[in-house]
């Protein structure tokens, strides 16, 4: 006979409850609407299983902490100094100066996927002075951006299992890949002109479970989702405290230029299928946008494509 929380339970019930405990440790954070990266709060990531054939969902703190960081205080200082929420996909293996990148080891050995239903970025619009002139100070208008017809999507991540000496527990920490912005995101994230890398399901599978070359990994990490595949709306600026993205109109805000809907957007790393782009369907890509074809993934028997795993 066993005891659980002071109650006498059968061995089978004890095992069930202990199994539930383990599962809950990985799931009880999923009901958060909006994750604010600067809180380093836990988010859901997919990591390969030990045999590398499947994956599991685990919890990770958003904000990569390398192994050499010794204490929680040091980790917070490191994050504040280097802002490791994101990794620049251009520097996956090499830095601008040609030296080895800090992401290199994780890119080879600790790749993961970050699940998301949407991203929040702010558009900065200069305030207008009394004489009608533009001021340096800006007003931030937050936008919620999602992928059309997809409840959730995958971003490439790099994670590290870091030992927190204060709790003697391993903590996963993660950084998300970012790439050059498309036409929509250049207007929304107009201060940095960057956007998160959003992968097709095939590329997500390849990133997580296959063994691509360094060159191929760099190409995947730089994937630029075309603007026309994205949907957007402005939201209430209270999203950080409300932890929810509530749509809100700002009548004073100039609309986003959506002329990208009328022509085939030229993106160097667009790996998204043409059939998702009505303009491109049946047409040839303009020259200069040479794109490696995505490899159709083989799914082992009993394993569905990733899009079906949460049904």
């Amino acid at each position: 006979m066993c005891y659980y929380n002071g109650q006498k339970v059968t061995r089978a019930e004890f095992i069930r409850l202990k199994g539930l405990e383990k599962a809950i440790r990985n799931y009880n954070f999923l009901n958060v609407g909006v994750h604010n990266g600067f809180n380093y709060a836990p988010c859901a990531i997919l990591i390969p299983s030990e045999d590398g054939k499947d994956f599991e969902i685990v919890q990770a703190e958003w904000g990569y902490v390398p192994g050499f960081v010794k204490t929680r205080a040091e980790a917070n200082i490191f994050r504040a100094k280097y802002t490791t929420l994101n990794f620049k996909s251009e520097n996956l293996f090499l830095k601008e100066d040609g030296k080895k990148s800090m992401w290199s080891s994780a890119a080879k050995n600790r790749r993961c996927l970050v699940l998301s239903t949407g991203i929040v970025e702010s558009r900065h619009v200069p305030k207008i002075g009394k004489k009608g002139q533009e001021l340096k100070e800006t007003i931030k208008y937050p936008y919620y951006v999602t992928v059309k017809n997809q409840e959730y999507f995958f971003m490439p991540g790099l994670y590290n299992e870091w030992l927190d000496p204060e709790t003697s527990q391993f903590v996963n920490t993660v950084a998300i890949g970012i790439t050059e912005a498309n036409a929509l995101m250049r207007q929304v994230h107009n201060t940095k002109l960057r956007m998160p890398t959003i992968l097709t399901e095939d590329l997500a599978y390849e990133w997580l479970l296959e063994k691509p070359s360094e060159e191929r990994l760099s190409v995947i990490a730089r994937t630029q989702i075309p603007s026309r595949v994205l949907e957007f709306c402005t939201i209430d600026p209270d999203y950080r405290t409300a932890k929810e993205a509530t749509p809100r109109d700002f009548p004073e805000l100039a609309p986003i230029d959506t002329s990208y809907l009328d022509f085939a957007e030229e993106l160097q790393f667009n790996h998204w299928p043409d059939d998702l782009e009505p303009v491109m369907a049946g047409a040839e890509r303009p020259s200069g946008t040479v794109v490696e074809s995505t490899v159709r993934t083989y799914y082992p028997p009993g394993m569905n494509p990733q899009g079906d795993l949460f049904n």
Binding site: G6, K8, V9, E13, N28
Partner: protein, 100 residues
């Protein structure tokens, strides 16, 4: 008729937010308190005599689990009762006369 997936309950004068999750075929309620108290997960377990009881997962917060469990059960019973009332009223309502 589905039970609510997220709702608020009052615990000791504080409004706590509850979400309903199914994990490993078990119903788990995740309770988030408005203060700094850590969130609590509770589920229904069965003791060796076959009697069901509320328990915290992981162990250690049994008293809180029993209290919150009773409040949640009362909330869901009330919710189901209201749903039933709505259904009965709907069925018994005469068809509206559009021309009268």
């Amino acid at each position: 008729m589905n039970d609510p997936k997220a709702f608020d309950i009052e615990l000791n004068g504080l409004v706590a937010h509850v979400t309903d999750h199914t994990i490993k075929s078990a119903k788990v309620f995740h309770i988030v308190y408005p203060n700094s108290k850590p969130a609590l997960n509770i589920t229904v377990a069965e003791n060796s005599d076959g009697v069901k009881f509320w328990t915290s997962v992981p162990e250690g917060r049994q008293e809180e689990a029993e209290f919150a469990g009773k409040v949640i059960a009362a909330y869901i019973r009330g919710y189901r009762r209201n749903q039933l009332c709505v259904t009965i009223t709907d069925k018994k309502s005469p068809a509206p006369n559009l021309f009268g």
